[in-house]
């Protein structure tokens, strides 16, 4: 066993010092009937064998680098600056514990504080937590915050919000006294204003919108926050954080909470995780925020210092009266996002958003020219859009996959009524040649 230190001699000596004859004397409390279970596991491998195995398993995967991928729908293929990996790979960050001992954790604490600062800049809201698990769980906790804060029983969610987010919210609220109600979307895939206004009543604690929504549409939320506020409810907005380099921020839309998925900010897709739940609120909701917060303070000698703060909200202090049970979060992912945003800087965040929009727009222009596919060229988008196929999508997907193209995510699996429609995502990772090839391949379908 490579990761153990004690030699046989040391073990013997230590057992002697402890005053027992054999190891079994140390575990006498374990009932004999439980001891020494038969465990059917393969034999241990040496490090070169482990590396071989991992490489072999890796070769059985076709990655989005091996193929040409237009998959998005909540997980995005982006360029990640090399410096991000170098920095988050620093063992002093990677192998550190939660920064409860602030003197021994000033590095992590300052980085969290900077992450919080960057997120408040990006979202235009006041207070960011240190991270949540992912977009779905962050949104579910945001829902809980609105239900408790307003003491009302119902949550309204746009059906154009990511299906996994909606499902997670339902799971979190099932069996509680709270109810979830949804409002639909129109032909273009934008939220149905009429239905929304009709459902906004005195029972509604919070309303959840996503923009760009699951279909890639930029939702027009003009006048929405005013209506929600007038109704005494709170507004939760989930946005692709990268899009905010270009698009109106949750703060500008008048949202009370911005909660969602931070994966586009420098995290690989990694088959779905670990990602980053972001959670940013107005000052008024500060004491209801779930999870850790880093704050600025001074030390006993008057020097600037950072520490975890407002901990009276949290489970390790409040136990059954805590607003959330979260303990471990996604700290290293937040660090990656922090480094990524810092590397992009004031101008880079705008440019990267522009490039995404430009390339998606270019692809849509060209798909629009195809006979067998329809797109809505009048709809405002960011880096994703809906394509309707005149032929069965399954056939098209099969044909394209044979050529090494992942054409996009079938919408029917999430919305049975959207037959033969698929969601196409384009990021800065796609060259003009890539896009032209895709269009050519589609044309031949």
């Amino acid at each position: 066993m490579p990761y153990l230190s004690l030699t046989e001699e040391e073990k013997k000596a230590m057992l002697g010092q402890v005053g027992v004859r054999s190891f079994d004397d140390l575990i006498m409390d374990i009932p004999a009937s439980l001891r020494d279970p038969k465990i059917n596991l393969p034999s241990s491998l040496s490090e070169p064998e482990v590396q071989d195995l991992i490489s072999k398993l890796g070769r059985r995967n076709t990655t989005t680098r091996d193929a040409l991928s237009f998959l998005g729908a909540g997980s995005y293929e982006h360029f990640i600056p090399a410096a991000v990996f170098e920095i988050i790979g620093r063992q002093e960050f990677l192998t550190a514990y939660t920064p409860y001992q602030s003197e021994a954790s000033q590095g992590t604490l300052q980085a969290i504080y900077e992450y919080q600062s960057l997120m408040t800049e990006l979202t235009g809201l006041d207070v960011s937590n240190a991270s949540h698990y992912d977009g779905a769980t962050s949104l579910a906790e945001a829902a809980l915050v609105t239900l408790r804060h307003t003491d009302r029983p119902k949550l309204l969610v746009a059906r154009s919000v990511h299906p996994h987010y909606r499902e997670t919210i339902r799971t979190y609220l099932a069996g509680t006294p709270y109810k979830v109600e949804e409002f639909g979307f129109d032909e273009k895939g934008n939220f149905d204003r009429e239905e929304f206004f009709a459902k906004l009543n005195a029972d509604v604690a919070g309303v959840i919108f996503q923009t760009p929504n699951f279909f890639g549409n930029i939702e027009d939320l003009e006048g929405v926050s005013e209506k929600i506020r007038a109704n005494g409810s709170l507004m939760i907005l989930t946005a692709n954080p990268l899009s905010l380099g270009l698009l109106k921020s949750p703060g500008e839309w008048g949202a009370d909470i911005a909660a969602g998925e931070g994966q586009p900010l420098g995290l690989p897709m990694e088959f779905g995780g670990p990602y980053l739940g972001y959670f940013v609120t107005s000052k008024a909701l500060m004491r209801r925020i779930p999870g850790r917060l880093a704050g600025l303070t001074q030390d006993a000698d008057g020097k600037r210092a950072f520490c975890l703060t407002l901990q009276a909200r949290e489970q390790h202090i409040r136990r059954e009266r805590a607003g959330s049970n979260i303990c471990s979060n996604q700290a290293l992912c937040a660090l990656a996002a922090c480094v990524y945003m810092t590397l992009l800087g004031k101008n880079g965040i705008r440019e990267i958003a522009e490039i995404n929009w430009d390339r998606a727009t270019y692809l849509r222009q060209n798909i629009a020219k195809l006979k067998n596919f329809e797109v809505d060229s009048t709809q405002s988008i960011f880096n994703e859009f809906r394509v309707k196929s005149n032929k069965p999508f399954a056939k098209i997907e099969e044909k394209l996959m044979a050529q090494g193209i992942f054409p996009g995510v079938a919408l029917e699996r999430f919305y049975p009524e959207l037959k033969d429609q698929f969601l196409v995502c384009v990021t800065e990772t796609k060259s003009r040649e890539n896009l032209d090839w895709f269009v050519e391949a589609l044309a031949k379908c």
Partner: protein, 499 residues
Amino acid sequence: MLISQDDRLSFEKSKPGRRAVSLPRERFSGEDSLKSIPKSLLRQTPIGFPELSELDIVRHFINLSRKNFSVDTHFYPLGSCTMKYNPKVNEWAARQEKFTALHPLQAEATAQGMFQILWELEESLKEISGMDRFTLQPAAGAHGELTGMMLVRAYHASRGGPTRTKVLVPDSSHGTNPASAALFGYHVVEIKSNSHGCVDLEDLKRHLDEHVACLMLTNPNTLGLFEKNILEITKLVHQYGGLLYYDGANLNPLLGIARPGDMGFDIIHINLHKTFSTPHGGGGPGAGPVGVKKHLMPFLPGPLVEKTKKGFEWASPSPRSIGRVKLFHGNVGIMIRAYAYLKTLGKEGLRKVSEAAILNANYMKENLKDTFKVATEGPCMHEFVLSLKSFAAQGVHAGDVGKRLLDFGFHAPTVHFPLVVPEALMIEPTETESRETMDLFIEAMKEIAHEIVTDPEKVKSAPHTLLVRRPDDVLAARKPILSYRDQIREKVLLAEAVV
């Protein structure tokens, strides 16, 4: 001033016009976003991100990293946190592009290597814990508990019968246990520990009735003791129709030694970031797979991996599933690390890990017992608790000893927990530490004990050798400054920390 000690925020180092990342300049569409997208949808306020060169940024963060303690630089005897060594081959595995560049929704046939890892990991966890099926979706231990409570609720609801409103937790439990149960409206009832530090059977019996939904238990408990009445405890709770939830935070001493499934637990979460060696990352990400016995399988969240003749695929969840608890499939990158670790351990390694973890803890306890009061009697499992109560006269608290240990180059143990022990210091060396390291720690503890008597102020005002000393958390909470924006708004510049 040394550049390496430039403590300013990235925001404070910013200079207009500097930049780090180069991005492609060419545009394809011939359209202008500012014209094509209606103005009402466009951002109007500037984004106050800092402007720095790549070197500025790299130096900034590398210097920040140097202000941390970490497993790779320090010994971390943090009780119940299992800060064992994080093997590098696991990191290597998780960073392979063949895994990082997989999209969670790509066709199953194109990710069979990935599926194999998830499937084998689940199989291994089943074997090790004695459970029948696992969901790998939960992101952390507390998320696993949340999932567990949902399973408890769904299970009881499916059976009808009396309304089960109570969740029992021992008074030595982790804070997440009562918090998780309370989130679903369960009434949390604390069960007392007996004089030995284990669940008081009489008190348990007093609270058992047909309204008990579940007992949540950590075993070994947070005092480092194996609940020797475990079989009776699980039998009693089952007799009343309640379920048993195993908090896997302390699974490390049981690998190959005993299995929660055999003890009678119905639901278990495992912290991959504790027992299975994945790094803590400064607070996360971890992973908290949840395992269940057969009778709870229909309620598990989807998707689950299924092995078929055609290969691996996602099984559609049962109609009785509690539903998804997370986006996509969980913290896969953490699972790859745990998989590599299990491959290295193999069946031979499991027991060696736990034996060394237990022996190390007993060795430290034995060497400290004459200096500090040990909260329990007899051997311990992988951790033990000291009480500083006997030093009350000097006014030194457990937290002070933790701070003073930092001066000796050791991370503090878990302090003031479990709550059942006054002035608790909870120590878990893990199996990966050497005897020499433990000896140094023991020596430091003895020296601090001496200081408490001869120079208590020195301990109470520690640490003396780190960059900051006792950040004022009362001030931080009274007037929260949580971002650079707050600093500007509140005019708290405090930049005098630097130049």
